[in-house]
Symmetry: C2
Subunit: 351 residues, 2 copies
């Protein structure tokens, strides 16, 4: 599908093919830490204008490729574009985060949302940004598309904002499991259509973010998140490589690895060696340097990154942080992280 | 030490002695959910007046014993009284949570705090509340004292407020490990003195809360939290039973169980059976019903609680939620939870 990419390292790593060195990128690399990003952001009315204007979204998507030298771009967007397209408009409040005026609390609220609509119409601005990014990237590196996993999107649609415990969302799982499943199902339908449209627009790879996985116990995660992740993975069916990153879902990692995905993302609390032992070479592992490690000295960033790379037992790895890069990290430290990965020689024994 | 307690079930369960039925209490049972608590709270200037006035603190400590029938009282207080006694005054902001004007960011900030002082003087109001509570409880149930674990207190002293990532605190572990250890050591000194004073004042049992355990990877938790927890457990040395509740520290549970404690608290994401298998009968397990389970119907609360009890393989259990009870839970549901535990017959095979 993709025209001759100059650097397809991350795609080969995801598929378990031979690589010359480990590929590296950072979650949240587009935005936050780069002065060049903040300059674009400051020239606009707000976060949403940036997300919704393909020209600007493409510009900040490409910045980390030019400035940091990562092996992949990830489209600048937000997981909340999906609930918005379904009918719940969100605002991004400064210092506070996302806020939805309307939320789903009961069956009757389902009339507020739709799952049968043309994603190319309502989410056309993301698809346009993908096309524009690819055009400007000119096949230098692959472009990653993404969406939130249904459980995480459900949390925002029920809660209407961020929360430490998401207790309203978890309450619904107990008080109204059938409504919960109905809502999760609708989110899943839209997410599949959206991801397929991203592939069609030119995404070379996809990542599903289950940011609030960690607030569910194993059984509830198995009941209310996994079936929908599985359905999405089956719908994508390896058309492009798929990564699943379920933050905090330590006890569900094997379940995640058993889906039709290529790569499992680990957060910085998860142990790569233990997970590798349990899944063997069946999947690629992405992660998982502690984002706080980038606060340390250049020497320490180099040392901690090398320790991480030394812990890999095979080539099936994509290097990343264990969470999005923190906003106040020095971009120079990010460069040290990336350069350390690029300079690292994979031992022959790992093939 | 304790005079004839009418109900010492929880102390026997903690020590692994024979019990007639499983003891039950709830984290955050004193406060929040009871209208009787809110009435006391509304009559005062704020949260801190309640914490600092022994008469009121004792009153709300006893309410759940009278109104809910729990098997233990826990002194109404806050883990932040320790950093305040050390020199960092805190405010409890409505809707926002704790806030410290002064924080520890560098070596020179250590001059803001003290660790050598008379806890009976600076924290006398807590000790007075313990004495008053015991007097009014009149030996009906044991009284639990508590403190924050040093790592969690460290987070507040560095960050100055709550945070999703506590990245400032974690940053210090990387950028200045020696300052980190110096601060953790000072907190530990005060915590030991404070807990010993609580025992002297009449606490029958102690719990250490490591609320932010889950944000550290296993190695960092082992380096920056466990040595201090171990030191505290050794200082208490079974004078009264000690419970350690490290929320989210899934990969450090065995390490916690290896300290000189009696009981390990599990959050609702942790699997009791797996943990029991790994530690055998060496420790009591406390927990771990999902606090959100109390949002379900009375029948479901009964069923979910019974499922939890059925999963116990032995008598070494103290029943609790896997986190503090949520503020909007119906107290009647809490009563169903408690009554289910009280009515449950422990199978002979479990002895």
């Amino acid at each position: 599908m993709s025209q001759q990419l100059q650097n397809d390292l991350i795609l080969r790593a995801a598929r378990g093919e031979k690589i010359e060195r480990y590929p590296v990128w950072l979650m949240r690399q587009a935005g936050r830490i780069l002065p060049e990003y903040r300059a674009v952001r400051a020239s606009l009315s707000g976060f949403k204008e940036l997300v919704e204007t393909p020209k600007y979204a493409a510009e900040v998507t490409i910045q980390p490729v030019d400035l940091l030298g990562v092996d992949a771009a990830i489209i600048f967007s937000d997981i909340l574009v999906v609930p918005e397209a379904m009918g719940l408009e969100y605002q991004m409040l400064e210092q506070k985060g996302p806020w939805f005026e309307k939320t789903i609390k009961s069956e009757s609220d389902l009339k507020l949302i739709e799952d049968q609509f043309d994603v190319e119409d309502r989410l056309g601005y993301v698809l346009e940004a993908i096309k524009l990014t690819n055009k400007e990237l000119n096949n230098r590196v692959p472009l990653i598309g993404f969406a939130g996993a249904p459980w995480t999107i459900f949390c925002y649609m029920v809660e209407g904002k961020g929360s430490k415990t998401f207790s309203e969302s978890r309450k619904m799982l107990y008080t109204n499991p059938s409504l919960s499943h109905a809502l999760l199902d609708k989110i899943t339908t839209v997410t599949i259509n959206y991801l397929k449209a991203q592939i069609k627009a030119g995404a070379h790879m996809l990542q599903l973010f289950d940011s609030w996985a960690g607030i569910l116990g194993t059984q509830q995660y198995e009941e209310f998140s996994m079936p929908y992740i599985r359905k999405i993975a089956n719908a994508i069916d390896q058309e492009v490589p798929l990564t699943i990153f379920s933050k905090g879902a330590l006890t569900s990692l094997e379940s995640i690895a058993s889906t039709n995905c290529n790569t499992v993302g680990l957060d910085w609390n998860m142990d790569i060696s233990t997970f590798r032992e349990s899944i063997g070479e069946s999947r690629t592992i992405q992660g998982n340097l502690d984002p706080c490690a980038l606060y340390s000295s250049h020497d320490d960033v180099h040392r901690l990154t090398t320790n991480l790379l030394d812990s890999f037992k095979s080539q099936r790895h994509i290097v990343n942080l264990g969470h999005g890069v923190y906003p106040d990290v020095d971009p120079e430290k990010v460069k040290t992280f990336i350069q350390t990965v690029k300079d690292y020689q994979i031992k022959e024994a790992k093939f």
